[in-house]
């Protein structure tokens, strides 16, 4: 996955940037020491995250991507995936679905113990599922993924049986996610605060300390025995320690990597990825997230997007390909799918997304938006064709916000007024909850195509008690609901693929969404870091195989 790029002579962009590049090139040359090819044990790696610091290191609680990132280093799941997307054993050695699909027997390895010394066994898995389903845990991602699990049963010491309310074709996908990683049952009995501070798992590293707002310190688990099947080596990790820091400012983060203060950064900005290409000292790891693609959802639940013609007109009016090229420096591929490109069942339909302003104008005229006001916006019955677009600055990187600005500018030609409102996460959720939006871009990461059900089933329009719901496009189509429900239950792979294809076709042809690109997940890595790969599950990097070549 690591892309080694040669130093290419490049036009300097202005004097300052030029000298930056020059300095980097020089330092790159001088530090090119004779490279060792055999892994070397020891050393401390510094990871700098641009995500918000998690409020809890236990990914059962809540369940977001920053938690997945860090917990990948100390927690492990029952199953994993290989790079072909096939489920492979991890803490579970094998599994068996019952004929009616309503129960699963999962056999665990018998040679794994948690870092607090307790044994991994069926009771431990039961305790974990209970923990996720306990309202007091306030689990969100894990809780949803276990939606069909009604009860658990220990068949023997190392076999656990899950009882389901309905067949779940995505169960293994779900179990592979870090949000359902297995923790020590003893540790889970501690108070929630204690467990959040230092969860206990079976992973290659152990949470040693967490100084809030500063860093999480992870040290090597010297009794590690359970690498996933696709790992590069056996035994304990090479690194002694990982410093997991939080540097929200992207420019500082990149500068720190350049200065050698940190070894790996996430949320790398496109321009820095581009700049890093020109150096020897920094490499890129590109690991698009699974689940949904990054897309703009059109709220079909209210005017004017309750009219399919207006939705299509908007999508035809938005010219984004040039913007993606320039803003992302070629680091992002345009997507025409509702799903991530790493999802095998994703359907790409470019034909729905060709830009055509003329067509857009025709559609709008047909939909009754014929007049234009003196600012050039279309008007119908005295109401301007105005679209609210709340943007979560926590979730959309600056380049993406800039892309939205460009969409705002290009759709203006067709007469749309797009009102961009960047806001913090709370306000953003607030705006969604109050249905005060026509356009929205919300990432959703989940392993497998079942994410379609979460995003487009009409059940997902009903908000949770907190006001949150996932069906932001407010797609309410009985036909689609039926397809998605069936797909989540069928065991036959071909039938499942066909159902998801039909479902995606309905969503795309209904112009409910404007796909942009995969959920960007770029890491910049010092060249001293060897052996880094992203987990094929949710694309979080794992440092188990990593060693420092310096």
């Amino acid at each position: 996955m690591l892309k080694h790029r040669p130093v290419t002579p490049k036009m300097f962009r202005g004097t300052l940037a030029g000298s930056v590049l020059l300095a980097l090139t020089l330092s790159g040359c001088t530090t090119a020491a004779p490279a060792s090819t055999e892994p070397v044990a020891g050393g401390t790696l510094v990871y700098a995250s641009g995500d918000a610091e998690p409020t809890c290191l236990d990914p059962h609680v809540g369940g977001n991507y920053p938690q997945a990132l860090v917990s990948t280093q100390y927690l492990e799941s029952l199953v994993s995936k290989n790079s072909d997307g096939e489920i492979i054993p991890w803490l579970a050695s094998k599994w068996q679905e019952s004929a009616d699909g309503l129960s699963w027997d999962i056999s665990l390895r018998d040679d794994v113990s948690f870092t607090d010394g307790t044994q991994l066994d069926a009771a431990a898995v039961q305790a974990n599922i209970e923990h996720v389903q306990d309202p007091a845990t306030a689990s969100s991602t894990g809780y949803l993924a276990l939606g069909k699990v009604t009860s658990t049963e220990a068949v023997d010491e190392f076999t656990v049986r899950l009882h389901l309310s309905a067949p779940d074709s995505s169960l293994l996908d779900s179990l592979s996610m870090p949000w359902l990683a297995i923790q020590s049952a003893t540790a889970l009995q501690r108070s929630k605060d204690e467990n959040c501070q230092a969860p206990v798992g079976t992973g290659p590293f152990v949470v040693e300390s967490w100084v809030k707002q500063d860093a999480v310190t992870l040290v090597r688990n010297d009794n590690y025995t359970s690498p996933p099947a696709d790992a590069d080596h056996d035994g304990v990790a090479w690194l002694d320690e990982i410093q997991w820091r939080f540097i929200p400012d992207s420019a500082s983060r990149y500068a720190a990597l350049q200065a050698g203060e940190v070894d790996v950064i996430d949320n790398a900005q496109p321009d820095t990825i581009d700049a890093a290409e020109a150096t020897d000292s920094i490499h890129e790891l590109n690991a698009p997230r699974p689940g949904a693609s990054n897309r703009i959802e059109l709220n079909a639940g209210k005017a004017p997007f309750d009219d399919q013609r207006v939705r299509e007109a908007f999508i035809r009016a938005a010219d984004i390909n040039d913007g993606i090229d320039s803003l992302f420096f070629g680091t992002a591929q345009r997507s025409y799918s509702a799903l991530s490109s790493i999802e095998a069942l994703g359907v790409s339909a470019p034909e729905y997304f060709t830009t055509d302003v003329k067509e857009a104008n025709k559609l709008l005229d047909a939909a009754g938006w014929r007049e234009r006001d003196n600012e050039g916006y279309r008007v119908k019955d005295g109401v301007r064709l105005s679209l609210e677009f709340p943007i979560s600055t926590n979730q959309s990187i600056p380049a993406e916000v800039s892309l939205f600005e460009q969409i705002q500018a290009t759709t203006k030609e067709a007469g749309f007024e797009v009102k961009l409102s960047p806001m913090d996460l709370s306000s953003w959720y607030g705006a969604l909850g109050a249905n005060q939006y026509n356009l929205v871009s919300a990432p959703y990461t989940k392993v497998g195509p079942d994410v379609l059900r979460i995003l487009f089933h009409s059940d997902a329009i009903t908000p949770a008690p907190s006001g949150y719901y996932a069906n932001h496009a407010q797609v309410s189509d009985p036909e689609l609901d039926a397809l998605l429900s069936e797909a989540s239950e069928v065991t036959d792979a071909n039938r499942r693929a066909e159902l998801y294809r039909q479902a995606q076709d309905l969503v795309l042809s209904g112009y409910y969404l404007l796909p942009l690109y995969d959920q960007q997940n770029h890491y910049l890595v010092s060249s001293a870091v060897e052996g880094l790969r992203a987990m094929p599950t949710v694309s979080t990097p794992t440092f188990y195989d990593v060693w420092l070549n310096r």
């Binding site: 300052l16 000298s19 930056v20 300095a23 330092s27 700098a48 918000a52 610091e53 409020t55 809890c56 609680v61 809540g62 309202p135 007091a136 306030a138 969100s140 809780y143 949803l144 929630k192 605060d193 959040c196 501070q197 100084v211 809030k212 707002q213 500063d214 820091r245 939080f246 540097i247 929200p248 400012d249 420019a251 500082s252 983060r253 500068a255 720190a256 350049q258 200065a259 203060e261 940190v262 913090d424 996460l425 709370s426 959720y429 607030g430 969604l432 909850g433 949770a464 008690p465 907190s466 006001g467 949150y468």
Partner: protein, 310 residues
């Protein structure tokens, strides 16, 4: 005796202000729209269940009447208990305790550096004659007008990215402190420098300076033995305010340089509406501000005995 009375009255005044700040913030933050219980469970994105919300309301006493909540909070405050962070689920006092030293060392160092810079700038501007004064005052004006985050960006671009001399983020070592401290200190030095230069030039023209020169004192002697103390006085009086502005600047600087500290904690807490943390940080910085003000006033009285007697 007089000094003791002064100290006691200042401390009493400070305690009052602290209580008032706590009360004001307590009621002001109650006006935030939205359910605190939801914020505790991770905000609207958390999909918290109704049972979980009810549980949290009980746990945090949010089902009590406001007045009871207020009295409970004040009662806890007296014992130094600032409550529990909604998001981090840890004692706010502990959280602040972890961060306090970082911010204090940053701001106090910046204050010292700003003082040094301002003094150097003022002395240089006062001795250079026409050109020196003009260049010096221009530098002061520019320094005072520079936004922290912009200066930080430029400094990082120059000293980290281009020259590679200094780390762009705080590393725990002394080297990592240089850029944040300079970023904080420069605008303040511009302010203090303007004040110092004015009073320095005034002091150099004062009758006592003439007396000293007539005694055979050198210009440097007049400057360092006499004028500098007079120049320092208004800057000392301003130091309380200066410390406050450094606390403000720390919010920005800690974010840019990825330094753990109160400013960043506050900023995070504000964006996720973590009310106990907002309250706690506000209270602690008010306390720090009050203490520093008392200290600078005390230094003022020592440096200028006229204040203590008048």
């Amino acid at each position: 005796m007089r000094a003791a009375r002064w100290v006691v009255s200042r401390i009493a005044g400070g305690a009052f202000v602290l209580w008032a700040v706590a009360t004001l913030i307590f009621f002001a933050l109650r006006m935030i729209p939205g359910d605190p219980a939801e914020a505790i469970l991770g905000g609207p994105g958390s999909q918290a269940s109704a049972e979980a919300l009810a549980q949290v309301r009980r746990d945090y006493g949010l089902d009590q009447p406001v007045i009871v909540q207020y009295l409970t909070a004040m009662g806890r405050l007296v014992t130094g208990d600032l409550g529990t962070s909604y998001a981090l689920k840890m004692g706010v006092a502990d959280l602040i305790g972890q961060q306090l030293w970082n911010t204090l060392s940053l701001t106090v160092l910046a204050l010292v550096v700003a003082w040094g810079l301002a003094l150097a700038l003022a002395v240089w501007a006062s001795r250079g004659g026409g050109l020196g004064t003009r260049v010096g005052s221009a530098m002061e004006v520019v320094a005072a007008a520079v936004p922290h985050f912009w200066l930080a960006a430029i400094l990082i671009l120059l000293f980290s990215s281009t020259l590679g001399w200094l780390p762009p983020i705080s590393t725990g070592g002394p080297l990592g402190l240089i850029l944040p401290v300079v970023t904080l200190a420069v605008p303040l030095a511009g302010f203090l420098g303007q004040v110092m230069r004015e009073s320095l030039i005034d002091a150099l023209e004062a009758p006592f300076a003439l007396s000293a020169r007539a005694r055979g004192e050198t210009e440097n002697g007049v400057r360092w033995r006499h004028a500098i103390r007079h120049a320092a006085l208004p800057a000392i009086s301003l130091s309380g305010w200066a410390f406050g502005s450094l606390l403000s600047g720390a919010v920005v600087v800690e974010t840019v340089f990825a330094r753990p500290g109160l400013g960043r904690t506050l900023l995070n807490a504000v964006t996720i509406r973590d009310i106990p943390v907002v309250t706690g940080v506000a209270l602690v910085s008010a306390l720090a501000f009050i203490l520093v003000t008392i200290a600078t006033d005390a230094i003022d009285r020592i440096a200028d005995p006229r204040l203590a007697t008048s």
